[in-house]
């Protein structure tokens, strides 16, 4: 059932303890990239039929890391735009404490809200006004909506780790610049239908190791929760 692992054929293949809900295939190899000691994980996320799954948030949490200092340097702001009555990007992953700007690129007003516990807010975005970014200072999942346009839906995934990313449309992601150590890996996408929406595994990374991981889901993805876009101005109900 597990398709051949395409991009680490020469590496040692290790099958991690496989929970019955998904298969993790890992193959690790030390890359002779002296003197780079940073480790890298190449992710591949496949659906139950072996196709790549994009927009999957992948987070690597260093387990024995010192507690994050609250006086960290200010983070560069991220952007959650509104374009043609959709949130862009659909899924945004940020580190805890990151300010997120909400520019409105549409000619119509939006009223962005969230009632998710990590960040509750209401933000009316009228054209021609600049609004200061909101700081997302608690980890967790923030679901966004628009009080005017019901079909607008987006997610901000707030993680304490600086090591995170999103898979591309082919389901691939490379997380580089990882220090050696024990990592907890978490995968999230709103369409995951596995018993646990957030898939968690642990791996140990050696200095300069290059680890390739493929995750194959065992269940079909749930339907897209974001309603299909409607023609502008044609959505009274």
């Amino acid at each position: 059932m597990v398709p051949p692992f395409a991009y680490c054929q020469n590496a040692t293949q290790v099958v991690l303890k496989s929970p019955n809900l998904l298969r993790w295939v890992a193959c690790g190899g030390v890359v002779a990239a002296w003197p780079a000691f940073a480790a890298t994980i190449e992710f591949g996320v496949l659906d139950h039929e072996g196709r790549g799954v994009g927009d999957v948030v992948v987070v690597a949490l260093l387990q024995d890391a010192p507690a994050a200092t609250s006086s960290a340097a200010p983070r560069a702001p991220a952007v959650m735009d509104q374009v043609a009555r959709r949130f862009v990007p659909y899924i945004l992953a940020v580190q805890t404490g990151t300010p997120v700007a909400f520019p409105n690129s549409d000619t119509v007003a939006h009223q962005v809200y969230s009632f998710s516990a990590p960040k509750r807010f209401q933000l009316a975005l009228y054209r021609g006004h600049a609004y200061p970014p909101l700081v997302f200072d608690k980890p967790g999942l923030v679901v966004l909506g628009c009080n005017i346009h019901d079909d607008m839906l987006a997610y901000i995934y707030v993680t304490p780790s600086p090591h995170f990313g999103k898979t591309d449309t082919g389901g691939k992601l490379e997380l580089g610049a990882l220090p050696a150590g024990n990592f907890e890996l978490r995968l999230w996408n709103p369409r995951f239908n596995e018993p646990h929406a957030e898939l968690v595994r642990t791996v140990e990374l050696q200095p300069a190791q290059r680890l390739a991981l493929t995750v194959q889901l065992t269940r079909a993805l749930a339907p897209e929760p974001r309603p299909q876009p409607t023609k502008a101005g044609w959505d009274d109900y």
Binding site: A109, Q111, Y113, W234, D236
Partner: protein, 221 residues
């Protein structure tokens, strides 16, 4: 009392032909953040075998009869949506059909809508005024027009003719899609008055297929 001769099987076809021959349809939308205007008009080339339309006091099921062949105004309407406050909207639709209505320009919908931000999985919306009930996904264009064809379905034609909520409506929506579920669920209740008994038009004339909405203050012969 629906007699054989008024049943629409034979009459629908010319109506559809007339719809297909619509010659001009123009939408002008002047959009500003807090005030949004939509103006739209269309002109139709009419060819029909309906003898006397209900718009002329007859029993014909379509809007246009043989006395109205050639170019006719389909509809001209101005739709305004304004934001009076952050969560308070005003919406007014003015209509002109160019037929024998008592008022050449009239109001088809006019209401205030209060839509506070949801602070939990439930969202509340309240409308006050005269408006269509949220009855289908068909007539959801500006001016309550069908988004699929010029003439809506028979049941929406009837709603446009006879049904309007004049009163208050409360809509409570459970936002399942914001809570990791697949669907939202809405419950809607309304208190209304000033309505004529529904079904009179169907009783007298039968189901019609047309886009002539009844105005709030208008009257046809």
């Amino acid at each position: 009392m629906i007699t054989e001769s008024t049943w629409p099987t034979r009459r629908i076809l010319p109506r559809l032909v007339a719809s297909a021959l619509t010659v001009v349809a123009t939408t002008g939308a002047a959009q500003e953040d807090r005030h949004e205007f939509t103006f739209q008009f269309d002109v139709r080339f009419v060819a029909t075998d309906i003898e006397r339309s209900f718009t002329d006091g007859g029993l014909g099921l379509g809007r246009f009869d043989q006395a109205h062949e050639d170019l006719q105004l389909g509809r001209a309407f101005l739709d305004y949506r304004g934001r009076l406050a952050e969560t308070l909207d005003l919406q007014v639709t003015l209509d002109a059909y160019g037929d024998a209505d008592k008022n050449p320009v009239d109001v088809s919908e006019s209401f205030l809508e209060w839509r506070p931000y949801p602070s939990s999985g439930w969202r509340w919306r309240t409308r006050l005024g005269a408006f269509y009930p949220p009855i289908s996904l068909e007539n959801r264009g500006p001016g309550w027009q069908s988004v699929y064809s010029i003439s809506p379905s028979a049941i929406n034609t009837w709603i446009g003719e006879e049904i309007r909520t004049i009163g208050a409506e409360v809509n409570a929506t459970w936002l399942g899609t914001r809570l990791g579920k697949a669907v939202d669920i809405s419950l809607i209740a309304a208190v209304y008055g000033w309505n004529d008994p529904m079904g009179v038009v169907i009783f007298q004339r039968g189901w019609g297929i047309h886009d002539r909405q009844t105005a709030l203050f208008g009257q046809l012969p």
